[in-house]
Each structure stands twice: as structure tokens, then as C-alpha cells.
């Protein structure tokens, strides 16, 4: 059993598990949408005093912050107790394309060039991570949701707005990958 869990999970099993999480939250009387937490944290920090958008009863969202806390613990448990040391089975083509951009595939989840502590010695890395975060935060609130709220919850409920948002996610992702990455890296 443990050996089975330790392998990377096949896509269909992962997909099933994501739906189960969505259904469990629905059964709890909530809905699956992660980016709302960012707004809640802004409100907790007092942003509601200055900006009306953050002036809401954030205490009703504590359940989602607990979910967030759990997700960090889950990441820790998965990496430390439920993983085998085999490298991520990344496509060779992707490895080659990234190599041309100066990003080496290290077999782990994330590249050292962007996410290792030593990479922060280059101010450009800090700037890129901060800018990327700003785009995700701004974009998800503007679009009213992120991958969980639109691509999973919204599409499951056959919402056309969610389909438009997901198409937007892909347009943005393709522009970044094919047009901007060669300029950035």
C-alpha cells in the first residue's frame, strides 16, 4: 500500500481525487475555490479599512484558511513520507526546450534557477517571482477565480464564464511560454 502511494500518481487517479475533494467541500456546505483565501488574508490584514472590496465578513472564510493550512501540511507529508526519490517523468522535449532557455531539469518538482535559496542572490529572480505572483493574484481576482474555482468547480457546473476564464488562462500561459520566456530567460 505504502509502496503504491509512494509512486507518482497516474493522472486519472489524481483527477478522481481532485473531484472527491470538491465533493467533500460541497458536502461540508462550502465550495472549492482557493484564490478567495488571498482576498481573505488581505481583509484580515486590515485592507477593508481602506478599500471597500476587502470590507466583508472574512470570519466566514476561516474554513478556507484552514483548508489552506492543511494544504501546506499535506505538501510536507507528501514530500517527506510519501515520495520515492525517482525523478519527475518530465517529457524529454520539455527538458530540451528548457535547457535552451538556460533552465536545467533537476529531476525535482521545481527548477533551482527560480526556486532555490541561492537563486535569490540574483535580484532578477526575486523580481520575476514577485511579478509572477502579482499577475496570479490580480488575474484570479479580476477573473473571479483560479484553477480550482473556474477550471474545476465552474466547468463541473457547466459555466460558460468559467470556460472563457480557462481559455484566458491558456492564452496567457502560451504568451508567457512562447513569446516572453525567450526574452526573460
Amino acid at each position: 500500500m505504502v509502496e503504491f502511494i509512494k509512486q507518482p500518481w497516474p493522472w486519472y487517479f489524481s483527477g478522481i481525487m481532485i473531484v472527491i475533494i470538491m465533493l467533500v467541500l460541497i458536502f461540508f456546505g462550502k465550495s472549492f475555490g482557493f484564490s478567495s483565501n488571498l482576498r481573505t488574508i488581505c481583509s484580515m490584514a486590515g485592507a477593508g479599512k481602506r478599500v471597500k472590496f476587502f470590507d466583508f465578513d472574512w470570519k466566514a472564510q476561516i474554513w478556507n484558511l484552514l483548508f489552506l493550512l492543511g494544504s501546506i501540511i499535506g505538501g510536507y507529508l507528501a514530500t517527506h513520507y510519501l515520495s520515492d526519490p525517482k525523478p519527475v517523468a518530465l517529457s524529454v522535449q520539455t527538458q530540451n526546450d528548457l535547457h535552451k532557455l538556460g533552465i536545467q531539469f533537476n529531476g525535482k518538482l521545481n527548477p533551482d534557477e527560480l526556486f532555490s535559496l541561492t537563486a535569490l542572490e540574483n535580484p532578477k529572480t526575486i523580481l520575476l517571482l514577485l511579478l509572477g505572483g502579482i499577475l496570479v493574484g490580480f488575474g484570479s481576482r479580476y477573473a473571479g477565480g483560479c484553477t480550482s474555482g473556474h477550471a474545476i468547480s465552474g466547468l463541473s457546473n457547466l459555466q460558460l464564464p468559467s470556460l472563457i476564464a480557462v481559455i484566458g488562462f491558456f492564452i496567457g500561459g502560451l504568451i508567457m511560454t512562447f513569446l516572453l520566456f525567450p526574452l526573460i530567460f
Binding site: G70, S71, I73, I134, R141
Partner: protein
């Protein structure tokens, strides 16, 4: 128990995101380069099963644990905010390889540098709140 169940659900989510490698910057690049079925398989399976589940819940008028009928809110009928907001989100998703969930899961995965991405995401959310009235929706 009231709060613990949400932490437990979050723990399962964090494990699933990690074990599916959906938290991987490399996997997101592979997806946007259309070089593997992996991420499409995950999202596709989730959406197909999700659609079926929601249909069943509506058809059978199922109730949640408190006994209240399960209701699904329709998203606002609009166009601009979804496409423009979506594109901005996608730019950031490809750059950081992290949507809001994986940002936090990756902290647990041993990448403290994600704190910078999270600070950016909070700042971006705040900026949206500030400029909301001036943006086309």
C-alpha cells in the same frame, strides 16, 4: 471536529497536488508546450467526473451535511473580466508554475522561496481591490 475536517481536506489536497505533480513548475511548462498528456489527463478526468457529479447532485436534489439542499451559484454573466483576468492569471501561472493552491503546497514541499510569490499574489489581489471600479468587467 468542526474545523479539523477542513484541515484534513486541505491535507488530502496538498498530498494530491504533490503526488500528481500538479505543483511542479516543470509539469506546467510541459502542459503549456503540449508535450505531455499528464496535466490534461488530470484536469480532464476531474472535469468529466465533476460534471457527472454535479448532474447527479442536482437530479437527486442531494443535501449537504447540515441538511440544507446543495445549491450551485451561477457565475456573473460577463465577458471581459473573465478573458482579461484569465489572460493576466495565465501569464503569472506560466511564469511561476504555481496557481494559488500550489503556491502554498510548495511551501510544505520545501520551497521557502514561494513566500515571494505569495507576497506578490497578495499584493496583486490588493491592487485589484484598489482598481476594481476603474477596470472593464
Amino acid at each position: 471536529m468542526k474545523s479539523i475536517k477542513f484541515i484534513l481536506a486541505g491535507i488530502v489536497f496538498g498530498i494530491v497536488m504533490t503526488k500528481s505533480e500538479a505543483v511542479s513548475w516543470f509539469r506546467i511548462q510541459e502542459m503549456f508546450r503540449f508535450q505531455s498528456f499528464h496535466m490534461y489527463g488530470i484536469i480532464g478526468t476531474a472535469v468529466i467526473l465533476g460534471v457527472l457529479s454535479v448532474l447527479v447532485i442536482k437530479k437527486l436534489k442531494l443535501k449537504d451535511m447540515s441538511g440544507a439542499p446543495i445549491q450551485f451559484k451561477d457565475k456573473d454573466k460577463a465577458y471581459k473580466k473573465y478573458i482579461v483576468g484569465g489572460i493576466i492569471f495565465g501569464l503569472g501561472w506560466a511564469l511561476t508554475g504555481a496557481c494559488p493552491g500550489p503556491m502554498f503546497v510548495n511551501l510544505g514541499n520545501g520551497y521557502p522561496t514561494l513566500i515571494i510569490v505569495i507576497m506578490g499574489a497578495l499584493l496583486g489581489t490588493y491592487l485589484y481591490g484598489v482598481f476594481q471600479k476603474k477596470l472593464p468587467h
